[in-house]
Subunit: 346 residues, 2 copies
């Protein structure tokens, strides 16, 4: 038996992208006839087994759920997986996890690999690169082949499937309103670049809260952090950027950060600059993880209820897998966030 | 085509344990002839496909590594996975992750599922329940069938395979010696029950350090925390236990904790009791995660180099998979720990 070839090897051999190979194998009209034939011939020669062979075995149930997450180091994703495991185990399903590491190619490869007969359906949160490239063909094709997907947290409207999200806009609006009600007059936001859907929504919530309080936003108080700075190895540059924000705007008396780590780092920078928390400056973060709870002072946060999100996602997927009728219908569950008040606010 | 039956379903149907089913399917002499026949007949009737069918296709390479970890919420395991991913991706392999949730049954099920043709080999850390029950047949059988395993961190001597460990004993001895050199005269240890191999070794390192300093251990200063208290939801009981330790032994001036969370909680309890860190009491933890870095004061820790462990484990496994000769030889890599000094010690 010949060695099995991977999508990646085909792409490298023919000097095209993984996305092109994936599309060509599925006869996508986006790919030129010439390339399609070349890819398909090569795949055949090397015995590449595309998904649909496994999937056509309609009744072959693996009783396994495939989960694709962008990052394993985030506590939020760990909590979601815990929730998925909880429901899956209760209902007799197993869970395996693949990581995209925020890469489009890895997301495609992982989905191909798992869809190849190992699992019954996917629960996933989209990688940043995929959101940037806006290339969603791998989701569409998977669904078209009859394998259900449930998306959580980072979703896109372009794909029809079950979804579990939180009300990011409302959650951040509530948080910022809390800071304003507490007397803050110059609230800064530390957020991500706009292509990350949740970052964009949370920034919008910030703007809406200001509007409610008849305040106009100041560009100087909106810090959109470069993605490269998020990884643990680049915390120093993140610190410097936040320090710059504080030094340019000496009147900042409130900070809303769209994730926990940004908030913790910002508190550290503020402390080093001699500001007292919460007397001089108040902080609220998003995502309730271990850092928030154990920080000094402990951090007021908007809880995303990660475990609940995972539970709901698993319920949606298993319900879909076990549904008898073939009617198409998609559910979006919106989970309410909750403001957990601790010592970083008055 | 009949629906595929799982190991778990067979076990439930026949009212035996998953371990029994697993052993019976592999003709283990530990299982009575009667049970073996019953299990095998049932498995055949329901079209259960055991591993060896997939495994006998000797040259079928999936270019995928299966990782089984006990817990996804631990930062240490996330770091190990990051290291595995790094090397795997560089060498053209994919990674999928299964969680045992510290359960023996889940470990067996996950290994069965992944060994079923999805992966080429395993990297794993053993669940607490497996260590307690000392039932390692699933590792032995997997290796016997020609699928290599690399164990990391939580290993057992009974299994011959490649291993990556840290020198737990030396690491904790160094940490405790540091506290003693810093002038501490009553150093407590907060550790796990002895069946967790790493906890046992770290406790031994504590005792060795005391001996070096000609001090005799006091039972009262050794707190072996009940496993149930480790989960995030039971932190309050852990706090109370540590508070009890401090109240019973008012002279404690140093604490060595075998993991990061224990240390962080212990610092919090000490602060609440009015002790100053590091003036009145010094702390060292094990495992260098996000909590240690961002705690106030930041925590001195013994770094396990999780990412490096993952990298080494992946190298060992892939080297094994790609080795041409069939000679059996096993490597154990011992990674040196490093004491990272921060503000919780003088």
């Amino acid at each position: 038996m010949k060695k099995k070839i991977t999508l990646k090897q085909i792409a490298r051999e023919l000097d095209v992208s993984i996305s092109t190979v994936s599309k060509a194998l599925r006869n996508s009209i986006e790919i030129s006839e010439d390339t399609r034939q070349k890819v398909q011939a090569f795949a055949k020669l090397y015995n590449y087994r595309p998904n649909n062979i496994a999937l056509s075995l309609k009744n072959r149930k693996t009783k396994t759920i495939g989960v694709i997450i962008p990052d394993i180091v985030h506590h939020f994703f760990s909590k979601v997986i815990r929730g998925i495991e909880l429901v899956a185990n209760k209902r007799g399903y197993n869970v395996i996890v693949g990581l995209s590491n925020e890469s489009f190619d890895k997301e495609v490869i992982n989905m191909q690999m798992l869809a190849n007969g190992s699992i019954d359906g996917f629960i996933l949160s989209i990688s940043k690169e995929t959101l940037q490239q806006q290339d969603y063909h791998h989701f569409k094709e998977t669904i078209n082949q009859g394998m259900p997907i449930v998306m959580f947290d980072r979703i896109v409207n372009e794909i029809n499937c079950d979804k579990v999200i939180i009300d990011d806009l409302k959650g951040s609006k509530n948080a910022v309103s809390k800071l304003l009600s507490n007397g803050c007059e110059n609230v800064a936001i530390i957020t991500t670049k706009d292509y990350v859907s949740v970052g964009k929504l949370r920034t919008q919530g910030y703007l809406n809260a200001l509007e409610d309080f008849k305040m106009s936003p100041e560009t100087d108080l909106i810090l959109k952090v470069d993605d490269e700075l998020v990884s643990e190895d680049h915390l120093e540059s993140l610190e410097r950027e936040i320090e710059g924000l504080f030094k340019r705007n000496k009147n900042i008396d409130g900070v809303f950060a769209v994730n926990e780590l940004y908030a913790i780092i910002a508190m550290k920078v503020a402390r080093n600059l001699g500001m007292r928390i919460p007397e001089d400056i108040q902080f609220i973060g998003f995502t309730d993880g271990v850092l928030s709870k154990h920080a000094t002072p402990s951090l007021t946060t908007v809880s995303q209820h990660g475990q609940l999100m995972g539970e709901k996602a698993a319920e949606l997927l298993i319900d879909n897998l076990e549904r008898e009728d073939e009617m198409e219908h998609y559910t979006t569950i919106v989970i309410e966030t909750e403001l957990i008040e601790r010592n970083s606010t008055k």
